[in-house]
Symmetry: C2
Amino acid sequence: MPASPRPADVKLTGLIGTLRCCQLFSGLSAEDLAVIAGFTVMQKLAKDDYLFHEGEPARGCYLVQSGAVNVHRVSAAGKEQVIHVFRSGESFAEAALATPTGYPANARAVEPSTVLILPKAPLLDLIGHRPDLALRMLGSMSGHLRVLVGMLDDLTLKDVETRLLNWLVKHSHAARGGAIQLPGTKRVLAAELGTSSETLSRTLGRLRDQRLISVSGKKITIHNLAAVQAMLRRNLGEN
Amino acid sequence: MPASPRPADVKLTGLIGTLRCCQLFSGLSAEDLAVIAGFTVMQKLAKDDYLFHEGEPARGCYLVQSGAVNVHRVSAAGKEQVIHVFRSGESFAEAALATPTGYPANARAVEPSTVLILPKAPLLDLIGHRPDLALRMLGSMSGHLRVLVGMLDDLTLKDVETRLLNWLVKHSHAARGGAIQLPGTKRVLAAELGTSSETLSRTLGRLRDQRLISVSGKKITIHNLAAVQAMLRRNLGEN
DNA sequence: CGGGTTGCTTGACACAGGTCAAGGCCCGAC
DNA sequence: GTCGGGCCTTGACCTGTGTCAAGCAACCCG
């Protein structure tokens, strides 16, 4: 029938599409994807809504369909340390599946987002039947380990300027006409880089004085990508 | 027969014993353990021997039988950041199993050690047949994730004094007669805390001046554990 | 025994970056 | 319009910690 399928089917095929796009499930068979889609729950989040808090018992793991989710910890004094900002197609909280302890961090939407929740029980069940899925989960988690290890040396082996240069280079590919559009406020970027908005402001100013970039509002223009990369490499060499 | 078994058997049952002790394999059936022991390779390391270097293709994952292994990264400038020191019974480099990329860090024995190598291929094969083993691996990796997350806020949310207090409290249970015996040199401890030996020395000195602890050689005596814990809590509250 | 090595301690100093405070800019509400 | 509140920027200041350097104690070895 060329007629449009029932709403539920539309939703389901849409879901399967999203699942297939995400790295975690990219090569799975259609049947397996259907099984997963069957128990997936969709949740919409407004900006600043919390998805979960540290210590809460784990519902399952998550997959960002759209928007961005900030996973972070807060110290006893209320200071926030960003672990990672997950964007569309990325999965997180796999760690919560395998251990009885609660979430080790908090998750909050930095903009309006929709996430897919993969509940613990049926997913574990499926993993029991599909060893290759287990391997994928292992792979995904080891990816997260690498990200964390990367953060570690970001925080210990590099200064703010270097971290910013690194961020610029990483995001230069997303530049439209050499201009990077900031996803959120500068304060958010500062947090993502593990610094304060004041220091970020100063550092941007310094780069601007050196004619490497120019900043106007939420738009950062890289004048000379090669020079930025050279400066990054030089900073990495010294520390 | 009450007579002693052949050397190979002795070695095998010894291996199985070690495997059973380690958290990763603690509840496995005797058969599975025998299979694993069958492909396990033992390696002895002298102090300062490298087990592997960053970027090398992964042989498999590792299990410390005795001694201690320092997993760390080094910056372009040669500075070393300790990720974790693994001691007997602990496993590491599980991440290397699931991804084709090489090791993300270096591993070096901090004292004479013996490690068991679990080669990639047969272990992955076994995981394919034993979904519960896959779940264990997931659990172990999520443990490592938590350790890394813990390190993150150690490094960002706490100063050296707080990190030292935390270390003291964590290791106070291992104190014999209130005295903690340092595993290695003070420089090693400093590296583990992510600081320099000078700063560690000063910080220890400050705690000693406050009569909280006393230090003599490689022995640290905690005079008043409750006071140390109180100070730790207070530091955490402020930051 | 003296000389070298190694590790620990202490002092002096420099610097990155966090915090506080004040001023400027933009924008939406009224 | 103009009032108010975010956000950004800039300046002034302070503190923690890394680094360099010198002195000291312990130990090994010929």
